[in-house]
C-alpha cells in the first residue's frame, strides 16, 4: 500500500521543504521505498536540500509534457538506495502542471513505492491545488508565530472544504526557552487554535541550516535534536506510537507545557 503524503503550510519559509527532505530520509532509512516530488515549479529547493541539484537532467514538467519517461526524471539519493527525487522545473511556472497531471503521475508511482511525498509550494493557488490533488494524507507545517498559524488555519479550512480530511500538524522551529519566557506560542496554544492532531514538534536547531547548506538532511545526523524529532515523526507516520521528545532537561514536553499554562 502506498501513501501519497502532501506537505503544505500556506505561509512560506516555515520549513515545508526541510520537512519533506527529512521525512523522506527518515522513512527511507527505516526501510521504506520513498519518492519525493518537488511541487514548487519555478522556485525549486528540494533538490538543493537533498544535495542532488547537479544530477538533474529531466524534471516534473518534462514528464508531464512527455519529453521523458517518469523513470528518467527520478534521481536516486546519494545515501539511500530506496529514495528518489522528482525535481521541479526551474524555468517554468505552476501552470505547467495541472491537478489531473499530478493524480496521473502519482497513480503511476503507487504500488511500487511505500511513500510518495509531495512538497507543496507556499500559497493557496494553483501550485498548492496541484500538490493536494493526489494526496491521501496531508501534513501542515507551521511555526509558533501568529502569522504562520493564521495561514495554517486557512490551509486546514481549504483542505476540509475540499474533502481532503483534517490534516495533521508539524510544529517546526519551537524554541523551548522562549516558550518558557512566554515570548513564543507553545504547542498547546497552537493546537488549541487549530484543533488538529499534532504529529511532531521540531525544536529550533542550527544543525538544520548547516545540513541544508551541505545537502545532507539533518535526519541523517544521529546527534541532532531536530533530526531525532523528524525521525520520530516518520515513525508516527508509519503508525508506530513514539513518545514526544523532551525539549528541555526539566521533565518531558507535555509536563512542561502544562506547567507553562498556569
Amino acid at each position: 500500500m502506498s501513501t501519497v503524503l502532501t506537505i503544505g503550510s500556506g505561509k512560506g519559509g516555515v520549513g515545508k521543504t526541510t520537512a519533506v527532505a527529512n521525512l523522506a530520509v527518515a522513512l527511507a532509512a527505516s526501510g521504506d521505498k520513498v519518492v519525493c516530488i518537488d511541487g514548487d515549479i519555478g522556485l525549486r529547493n528540494l533538490d538543493v536540500i537533498m544535495g542532488l541539484e547537479n544530477r538533474i537532467v529531466y524534471d516534473l514538467v518534462d514528464v508531464v509534457e512527455g519529453r521523458c519517461r517518469l523513470r528518467q526524471a527520478m534521481i536516486r539519493d546519494k545515501h539511500l538506495p530506496e529514495l528518489y527525487l522528482i525535481p521541479a522545473a526551474q524555468t517554468r511556472d505552476k501552470n505547467a502542471v495541472s491537478p489531473s497531471d499530478m493524480v496521473r503521475l502519482c497513480d503511476e508511482l503507487r504500488g511500487e513505492y511505500d511513500w510518495i511525498l509531495i512538497d507543496s509550494p507556499a500559497g493557496i493557488e494553483r501550485g498548492f491545488k496541484n500538490a493536494i490533488a493526489p494526496a491521501d494524507r496531508v501534513v501542515v507545517v507551521t511555526n509558533p508565530e501568529v502569522s504562520a498559524v493564521r495561514d495554517a488555519d486557512r490551509v486546514i479550512g481549504i483542505l476540509e472544504a475540499e474533502e481532503k480530511g483534517t490534516p495533521s500538524l508539524i510544529l517546526n522551529r519551537l524554541n523551548p526557552i522562549m516558550v518558557k519566557r512566554h515570548d513564543m506560542l507553545s504547542a498547546d496554544d497552537v493546537v488549541d487554535l487549530l484543533a488538529v492532531k499534532i504529529i511532531g514538534v521540531v525544536p529550533e536547531d542550527e544543525d538544520v541550516i548547516v545540513a541544508a547548506n551541505r545537502g545532507s538532511p539533518v535526519a541523517l545526523d544521529q546527534k541532532s535534536r531536530a533530526g531525532q524529532a523528524f525521525r520520530n515523526i516518520a515513525q508516527r507516520l508509519k503508525g508506530i506510537d513514539t513518545p514526544f521528545l523532551a525539549l528541555d532537561d526539566q521533565g518531558n514536553l507535555w509536563q512542561r507545557l502544562f506547567a507553562g499554562r498556569k
Partner: protein, 227 residues
Amino acid sequence: MSASQLTLKIKGLRDSLLVTLPEGRWDDLRGLLLNQIQERESFFKGARLALDVGVQALHVSDVSELRDALSEQGVALWAVLSESPATEKTAQLLGLATRLARPTPEVPRAPAAVVEADKALWVDKTLRSGMRVEYPGHIVVLGDVNPGAEIVAGGSVIVWGRLRGVVHAGAEGNGEASVCALDLSPQQLRIAGEIALAPKQRKTPVPEIVRLKDGQLVAEPWRPDKH
C-alpha cells in the same frame, strides 16, 4: 432532454460574466459549459465567472472539480448562485460568493430580504481563517470563529464557541441586532454602523452579549436573570 438541446445564457456584468445554466443533469450541464468555453476560448480566457445553477443541489466535490477544470481553461469561478440551500452552503465552504455584489435591477430584492430577515443560517462547524459567511437573516455558529474568518449577518449572530474573527451584525442597518458568544474576543465587531476593535481579553472567558445602546457598543456578561 438531450445535452445538445440545452443552451446557456451568458450575460456580461461589470467585471465578470454571469452564466445561467438551464435545468438538466449536472454532468450534461458541466460538459456543455466546458465545451462552450473551449469553443470560444478567446472570449472566455481570463474571465471571472459567476454561475447561476438554479435549483441544482451540488456537493463540494462537484463545485471544486468544476472550479479546477475552469481554472485549467484560464477561467476563474468566483460565485455560484443557487436557489438550493445545499449548493449555497457548498459555495460558502469553498469561499465562493453566493450573491452578486450589486443585484441586477430587474430582480426586486426588498421583498426577499423581508422574508429572509427572520430566518437563521445554521453553521455547524468551526470557521477558519479566510472563510466568510454572509446571510440576510441571523447566523448561528456551532463551533469557533477563528481569527481571519468573517461573519456578516442582516440580523443577530450567535457563536456557540470562541469568537475571534470579524463579525458584523445588523449589516443592513438593523441597530436591534446583537452578537453573543461563549468567548467573545473578536478582532473587530460591528453592529449596524458602529465598530468596536478587539475588546479587552478576559483571563477566564465568560459568555457575553453585545448590543447597541445609545450609539455605543456595550458588552455584558450573560446573566440569566437580566435577559
